[in-house]
Symmetry: C2
Subunit: 428 residues, 2 copies
C-alpha cells in the first residue's frame, strides 16, 4: 500500500491508460469521489472514483461496503487517507489488483452522474472580495464594501433541494421585479439571468449542536471541493433582497460538479493566506498559524460560454474569464467552518459551503455577468458577432477548474455545465 | 367510518377519557401527528397521534405500515382525509376498535418526542407586518417597512440541521458584535438573546423542480401547523445581517413543537383574509377567491416566561403576551407556497416554512423581547420583582397556541418550550 505522500508522486502512473494523458483532469494523483448509475438506469446510486475517462465502482473493489457517500464522508481523516492510499495502490501500474479491478471500471461516457452526496444544508458565503466590491458598487454606490466585510465571513443559508448536478438544464425563473422608475412591480421571466463562479466545499465529519469547531481542527471536517454555479436572477434579487437577503433569485437552481476532489488530493496545491497590508487581523477564532501558512487553495478557475447559435454552427465554446481562487477569496475554508459553528450551529456530513463568487482583481477575471457587463451596461461581443449582457435561452455555461504547480501532476475538478431553457408558463 | 366533516362534530367523544376534558389540547377533533420513542430508549422513532394525555402508536393500529412520517406527509389529501376519518372512528366512544387499540396507547409523559419529521429545507418568512414595522423602526428608523413588503412575501432560507424539538435546552451563542460607538467588533456571549413567536407550516406533497404550485392548489401541499420558536441573537444579527441577511444570529437553535396539527383539524378555524383598506391588491399569482374567503388561520398564540428564580421559588410561569395569528400575518400559508415555488423552487414533504414573528397590533401583543422592550430600552417587570430586557440564563420560554370558536371543540397546538443555558467556553 502506498503512503499518503506517495499518492502525490509525479512518477506514479496508472494501468488505466487514459489517466496518464497530459492535461487529463483525473490522473491517479487525483481520485475524486462521485455517485453514478448506468445511464437511463433506475438502479440505486453507487460510489465511484474518476480515473482517466473511466469510473471505478468502489464497492465492486471490496474496499468499501456501502453506497452511502455521506457515510464515507463522515469517516475519520485517518480512514480517508488509508482508503485513498489503497485506491492509489490498486490503480497504479504494476498493481496485482489490475485483473480483479478491471471489471469494476465503467466508461464515464456511459454513466449518469448525480449530485455527489445527500446535501442536508447548504450555506453560501461571500468570500470574493473583488466580487463584493464590484457588486456592492452597483447596488450601493455609496458603500460598496460593508463595514463588517473584513471582520465577518459573510454568509447566508441557501436552498438545498434545488441543487442539481452538472449537465442539467435550468428553466429561466419567473418572478417579481421592479424597475427603479416603475410605480409598482411586475411579474414575468427574469431578464437578468446570471451565473456565479464558485467553489463548493463539502463537509466530512460533522459537529454536535452547541459544540463549535475550533479553526485548528476545521480542516479535519473538510472532505473536498467541487465547482459550483449559483445561478442568479439579478432583477428578482434587486427587488426582493432587503432586508433579509436573496431568496427566489437564487433558489430556482444551483449546480454542482459531479466529482468531489478531496483535501488529500489538493494537498500539493495549498498556499499561504495573507491579508493585504493595512487590513485588520482576523479575530482570534478565525486565525491560526496553519491557516496563514497554507490555508488557501491554488485553483485556476475558468468560465466558458456557448450560445445556441454557436452550438448550431458547430462553433466551440468561448472562454469568458480565467482567474484563481487564491487571489479571489478573502476567507479560507477553515475560517468558514470555524465561523459557521462558533455560535453552536451543527454541520453534518455532506453539507455544502459555497465560496461565493470568485472574481479576480482585474475586471476581466470577474465571476459573473453582473460584473463583466457592469450591471448590464456593457455588452460582451462574442467571436461570432453575437453580443450578450445576461444569459439568453439556449446558452450553455460551463465552469472549469484545475490545479497546476511545478513538481506536481496537474489535477482537475472536471466541469459544471448547465443550459438555459425558456421560462415556462405558470399554468403549464 | 366517519366522514371528514363528522371528525369535527362537537358531540364526538373518545373512549380515551382524558381527551374529553374541557380545555384539553388534544380532543378527538384534533388528532395531530408526531414522532416518539419510549423515554430514554434508543429504538427507532414511531409515528403517533396525540389523544388526551395519551399517544396512539399508529402502526400498531394497523392503519399504516411505515415509521416514515415524511412518507405519510406525502400522501394525497384524499388519503390523508381517509386516514383521519379512520383514526377518528377507532378512537370514538363505542368503537369496536377499543379493545384492539388499547394496547397501542402510551402515556405522553412516558415518551420522548422528536422533531416531528425529517426537515429537508427550512424557510423563514416575515409575514408579521406589525413585527416588521416595529423592528424596522429599530434597525432603520427612516424606512421601517421596506417598499417591497406589501408586494413580496419576504422570506429567507434558514438552517435545518439545528432545529430541535420542544423541551430541549439552548446554549447561549457566542459571536461577533459591535456596539455603534466601538471602533472594532468584539467576541463573546450574546447579550441580547431573544425568542420569536412563530407558526411553522409543514409541507405535505412536494412539487418538481421548475414546476410552480399555483395558489389555487397550494393548500393541497400543506400538511399542518406547529409552534415554532426562532431563537435569535439580536446583537449578532445587527452586526452580521447586511447585505445578505441573518446567519449565525438565527442558526444556533430553532425549536418546533412535537405535534403537527393537520389542515383537516384546522378546517373549522379558517378565516377570511382581508388586506387593510388602501393597500395594493396582491399580484395575481398570490391571489385567489378561496384565499380571500378562508385563507387565514384563527389561532390564539401565547408566550410564557419562567425565570430560574421563579422556578426555584415554585412560582408559575407568567404570560408575556397573547395575540392571534390572523391579525398578525400579512400573507397566508397558501400565498407563501405559491410565492416560494413561483420561480421553480421545489418543496419536499416535511419542509418547514416559518411564518415569521407573529406580533399583534398592540405593543403588548408583540412576539419578541426586541419589540416588548423596544430594543432593550424598556425593562419588563415580573411579578416576583425581577426585571428583564432580553433572555437570561435559566429562563424557560414557552409558546402555546389553540383554536376556539363557537360551535367547534377547542383544539390546541400543545407547547414549544426551551430553557436557556449559559454560553460554553470555546475550548470546552
Amino acid at each position: 500500500m502506498n503512503t499518503l505522500n506517495e499518492t502525490h508522486d509525479p512518477k506514479l502512473r496508472s494501468w488505466v491508460v487514459s489517466a496518464n494523458a497530459a492535461g487529463c483532469d483525473f490522473p491517479i494523483q487525483n481520485l475524486p469521489f462521485g455517485r453514478f448509475r448506468t445511464a437511463g438506469g433506475v438502479d440505486a446510486l453507487r460510489i465511484g472514483v474518476a480515473i482517466g475517462d473511466q469510473v471505478l465502482d468502489l464497492r465492486a473493489t471490496g474496499l468499501i461496503h456501502t453506497d452511502d457517500m455521506n457515510a464515507l464522508m463522515a469517516a475519520s481523516p485517518a480512514d480517508r487517507q488509508a482508503l485513498r492510499a489503497a485506491i492509489s495502490a490498486g490503480l497504479a501500474e504494476g498493481s496485482s489488483q489490475q485483473g480483479a479491478w478491471q471489471g469494476a471500471l465503467h466508461a464515464q461516457s456511459a454513466l449518469e452522474m448525480a449530485v455527489p452526496c445527500r446535501i442536508g444544508d447548504y450555506t453560501d458565503f461571500y468570500t470574493g472580495i473583488h466580487h463584493a466590491t464590484t457588486v456592492g458598487k452597483l447596488f450601493r454606490p455609496d458603500s460598496p464594501l460593508m463595514p463588517n466585510y473584513k471582520w465577518v465571513p459573510i454568509g447566508y443559508h441557501g436552498r438545498a433541494s434545488s441543487i442539481g448536478v452538472s449537465g442539467q438544464r435550468v428553466k429561466r425563473p419567473r418572478g417579481q421585479t421592479k424597475a427603479p422608475d416603475a410605480a409598482v412591480p411586475s411579474f414575468g421571466p427574469s431578464q437578468r439571468l446570471d451565473y456565479e463562479l464558485e467553489l463548493g466545499f463539502f463537509i466530512g465529519r460533522g459537529n454536535a449542536l452547541g459544540e463549535p469547531i475550533p479553526i485548528q481542527e476545521a480542516e479535519q471536517h473538510l472532505f473536498g471541493v467541487g465547482l459550483f454555479n449559483d445561478w442568479s436572477a439579478r432583477d428578482i434579487q434587486a427587488w426582493e433582497y432587503v432586508p433579509l437577503g436573496p431568496f427566489l433569485s437564487k433558489n430556482f437552481a444551483s449546480m454542482i460538479s459531479p466529482w468531489i476532489v478531496t483535501m488529500e488530493a489538493l494537498a500539493p496545491f495549498r498556499a499561504p493566506f495573507e491579508r493585504p497590508a493595512g487590513d485588520p487581523p482576523p479575530l482570534s477564532y478565525l486565525d491560526s498559524p496553519a491557516n496563514r501558512e497554507h490555508g488557501a487553495l491554488d485553483i485556476t478557475l475558468e468560465v466558458w460560454l456557448q450560445t445556441r447559435k454557436m452550438r448550431e454552427a458547430g462553433a466551440p465554446a468561448v472562454r469568458l474569464t480565467k482567474g484563481n481562487a487564491r487571489e479571489a477569496a478573502y476567507w479560507t475554508p477553515a475560517q468558514l467552518i470555524a465561523h459557521h459553528t462558533v455560535g453552536g450551529c451543527n454541520l453534518q456530513p455532506g453539507d455544502l459551503l459555497g465560496s461565493g463568487t470568485l472574481s479576480g482583481r482585474k475586471p476581466d477575471e470577474a465571476g459573473s455577468l453582473l460584473e463583466l457587463t457592469l450591471g448590464g451596461k456593457n455588452r460582451i461581443t462574442l467571436p461570432n458577432g453575437e453580443s450578450h449582457t445576461f444569459l439568453e435561452d439556449g446558452d450553455t455555461l460551463t465552469l472549469r477548474g484545475y490545479c497546476e504547480r511545478d513538481g506536481a501532476v496537474r489535477i482537475g475538478l472536471g466541469e459544471c455545465a448547465g443550459t438555459v431553457l425558456p421560462a415556462v408558463a405558470l399554468d403549464g
